[in-house]
Amino acid sequence: MLKDITLGQYFSGNSILHRLDPRIKIIAVLFFAVSVFIAKNVYSFAFLLLSVILLTLVSGISYKIVLKSIKPVLVIVIFTAVINLFFTKADETPLIDWLFITVYPRGIKTAVFMIVRILTLIVGTSLILTYTTSPIALTDGIERLLSPLKKIKVPVHEFAMMMTIALRFIPTLLEETDKIISAQKARGAGFDEGGLMKKAKAFLPILIPLFISAFRRADELAVAMECRCYRGDEGRTRMKELKMQGRDVTALILAVLFTACIIFFNTLPTTLSI
């Protein structure tokens, strides 16, 4: 019942995007997000669209999956477009002026640009980060990127370890939830009947045993980790070292160039801008 939940949305593969150092990908995503937000005319938005299409091709992930990722944000996209369409005011002759509805050319422009902005942001960041980076590589990347913060006593390693353990135990706890649900059903509990309140209440007998078991597991895991000489970050080495390679440097340069291009395109004269 709960087995088919996929978390992290990672699609394994062997493209150049998959093989990049996670640290570089995190930095690249920051550059990408900034670029999306500073883009303001037709040239820069066209460039954004083009690069997202390029990213899709490079990632080797099917365009169907990529299109699917848009689905959950579709409502937001439509909502933003409609708001921009009807509520943008400008000092020009409206295209439509009927009863209380007025639509200016500027409104249409803004609406279209907003759609492109949200879609490229979602698709671009998923392609660079979540689709092509396994959760564990991502955690690793975050830990190393933030490691300078250790100097000011931010428990970076501990947070990363918590993330790893959480990722490790998601399938285990899902399996356990399934078992508890079956056990409760076997004793006549109904989870599909009644109103919302009744349904919510029916989940209490699942949550309580699940929590108790999770705490017990945490306790045992802590002892097992101590038995394997775990003492936090102190003197710890890693089997898989992250090493910057030529392609990583190239990717970083490309990310910087990308933002530079957007800034350049923004300066080109055009009437199609916001």
Binding site: P135, I136, T164, I165, L167, R168, P171, T172, E175, R217, E220, L221, V223, A224, M225, E226, C227, R228, C229, Y230, R231, G235, R236, T237, R238, M239, K240, E241
Partner: protein, 283 residues
């Protein structure tokens, strides 16, 4: 290598007014390097508590536990004690830390600060020993109970300990998984590992060179398996079973057949009975 001197333990806190019952009652014993010791006892006999005293998970309330001369009550020595005495627990799920088999086996050497290339070597070696090399990249949730427990054992082997304690490590496994784990233990024995096996399965204990029987926090018996299992009546009194062969022979002896009293392996039992039948035929 592990030495207990007049060790007592109970689970009370300092602020408890009524002292809790002693779980371990003034025990002295020594686990020798290279030996294979099985610790038997019914539930609540203190056998798991005893195991947890061996590598400093629990600290004795009185008395002293030393590992290679290092006192477990000295917190600064715990790291060195634990790298020498590894422990495999009952539930394999609650011992695996990482999201892939390989990463999990690497966990202990990583904590010890071993060089990355050496970690890889150790991981490969440990997975080879437990026969899980094929599953290196798998996620733990894709494995069976026995396989997970073997990964947990590999995680300890990669630490290169001198002794491994198995705290009822086969209790949650199906017969197939139990066999896998026992075969791994046999293999470790051949490599000269000191093994302490805590169990309530009698047929696992027969392979040990020494069996310690715990009862109510005391060492009830401490002898080689043949001597232990010949005391069928006493074992039953304290709520333990004997191996099926031993039980059969015991009943036959009671019925008046002359058979040796210290048989623990099915094969030798069968042989002895065959011999007896042949003798009867000849007569």
């Amino acid at each position: 290598m592990i030495k207990l001197e007049n060790v007592s333990f109970d689970y009370s806190d300092a602020e408890d007014l009524i002292p809790a019952d002693k779980v371990i009652n003034n025990i002295s014993l020594e686990i020798e390097k290279g030996s294979f010791v099985a610790i038997l006892g019914h539930n609540g006999s203190g056998k798991s508590t005893l195991a947890k005293l061996f590598n400093g998970i629990l600290i004795p309330k009185s008395g002293r536990v030393t590992v290679d001369g290092m006192d477990t009550s000295d917190e600064d020595l715990l790291f060195d004690i634990r790298r020498r005495v590894g422990m495999v627990f009952q539930n394999p799920d609650n011992q695996i830390v990482a999201t892939t088999v390989e990463e999990d086996v690497a966990f202990a050497p990583e904590n010890l600060g071993v060089e990355p290339s050496e970690i890889r070597r150790r991981v490969a070696e440990a997975l080879e020993t437990v026969g899980m090399t094929r599953f290196r990249q798998h996620s733990p949730s894709q494995l069976s109970g026995g396989q997970k427990q073997r990964v947990a054992i590999a995680g300890i082997i990669a630490m290169k300990p001198e002794c491994i304690i198995f705290d009822e490590s086969t209790a949650m496994l199906d017969p197939q998984g139990r066999k896998e784990v026992l075969d791994t233990i046999t293999k470790l024995r051949q490599d000269g590992m000191t093994v302490v096996l805590i169990t309530h399965y009698m047929n696992e204990a027969v392979y040990a060179d020494r069996v310690i029987v715990m009862n109510d926090g005391n060492v009830e018996m401490d002898a080689p398996p043949r001597q232990i299992f010949s005391k069928v009546e006493r074992l039953k009194e304290i709520g333990l079973d004997v191996p099926q062969v031993t039980e059969l022979i015991f009943k036959l002896r009671e019925a008046g057949y002359s058979l040796p009293h210290d048989l623990v392996f099915p094969e030798e039992g069968a042989e002895a009975i065959e011999k007896l039948i042949l003798e009867h035929k000849q007569r």
